[in-house]
Symmetry: C2
Subunit: 201 residues, 2 copies
């Protein structure tokens, strides 16, 4: 007895990640009952985003141009290429203000169990990008999760086979972290990957 337009909306909301039948129902009621303006704005934004957004030909992130502003910026160091999983990771790195190179956004991570391998991630596109003759070092900044590590390993192998210098961002005790409250795995890695302390001069 549910009207078909309501059923269709509830079903359509389930395409959102983490939204099950109950949440979808709650969202539909909320939009229709309390926020029709928000619902109309959401519909319009979805349409607009689908129409205008594409992937940057160089760094693969979302952009409205052929090549995004960052990749087109001659002020940035085109010899450094930092590989991240998602645009949100890129945003975090940019917030540090200490990296002036370029990025490559994988738009995902290797996940053999979900059938996401090198082909699905289009790693050949990254290899081609990194082999432009300008890039000198590729910095792997995928997450330190299992999937992120597998991704870093695979990407590293591919790029080193092309003779490129490859590095990985450091893993260790977080800044401000106390050993007592740090997990054992991180402490173990911090020990293994210890750095020689240079003389202060």
């Amino acid at each position: 007895m549910t009207p078909s337009a309501l059923d269709a909306l509830i079903e359509a909301l389930r395409c959102l990640p983490g939204v099950g039948p109950k949440s979808a129902q709650r969202m539909a009621y909320h939009l229709l009952q309390r926020d029709q303006k928000g619902a109309a704005r959401l519909a319009a934004s979805l349409g607009h985003a689908l129409d205008t957004l594409r992937h940057c030909a160089k760094c693969n992130t979302f952009t409205e141009q052929e090549i995004c502003q960052r990749c087109a910026n001659p002020q940035r160091d085109h010899r450094l290429l930092c590989v991240v999983e998602m645009p949100s990771d890129l945003a975090m790195l940019e917030q540090t203000h200490i990296f002036n190179g370029l990025y490559y956004v994988l738009m995902g991570r290797m996940s053999p169990l979900d059938g996401i391998g090198p082909r699905e991630l289009k790693l050949d596109k990254l290899v081609e990008r990194a082999s432009d003759g300008v890039v000198e070092e590729v910095i792997l900044a995928t997450n330190f999760t299992n999937e992120g590590e597998v991704t870093a390993h695979t990407v590293g192998e591919l790029l080193r086979a092309r003779g490129l210098k490859v590095s990985r961002i450091a893993r260790g005790v977080p800044v401000g972290g106390e050993l007592e409250h740090t997990d054992i795995g991180t402490i173990a890695q911090a020990l293994l990957e210890r750095r020689a302390v240079a003389d202060e001069t």
Copy 2:
């Protein structure tokens, strides 16, 4: 440096209940990267729902007609009116298959802290509906939360002032429930609202 169409989509997704900035970003990436078909379907469903759905003139639930199929059904007992908070509550009651009366859906609950009082809930519309001369008993089936109880109390007062018979669904130990695992408040209510046991004949 985020493209404006992406920013707008992330912002628009935040109108969904329980969706903060991080979830909205994750949803936007997911839709654009992994499920463009789902995104297009969601945009279309939102538009269609906003265009076609309205509130039933009798029971106030979502419908595509002036009066919903349930309220228009002469097979149902028009003397019984069951008041619920949301269409999902109506659906739960219908699943019991033991109620053949009609419903009134408040589309919310009293919540003084959020500024939702009798006027915002349009309780006058319910009073008018219940005073049609056909309804003989109004059954209050709002939730047994604080807000649901306040709503039931307010609605009950309004309707009894019109001379209508008002009842409340029973509160007590759930079917299959063990006292050991039932909260004290529920057990207390089950004691206070105990029913006389009739002789079996």
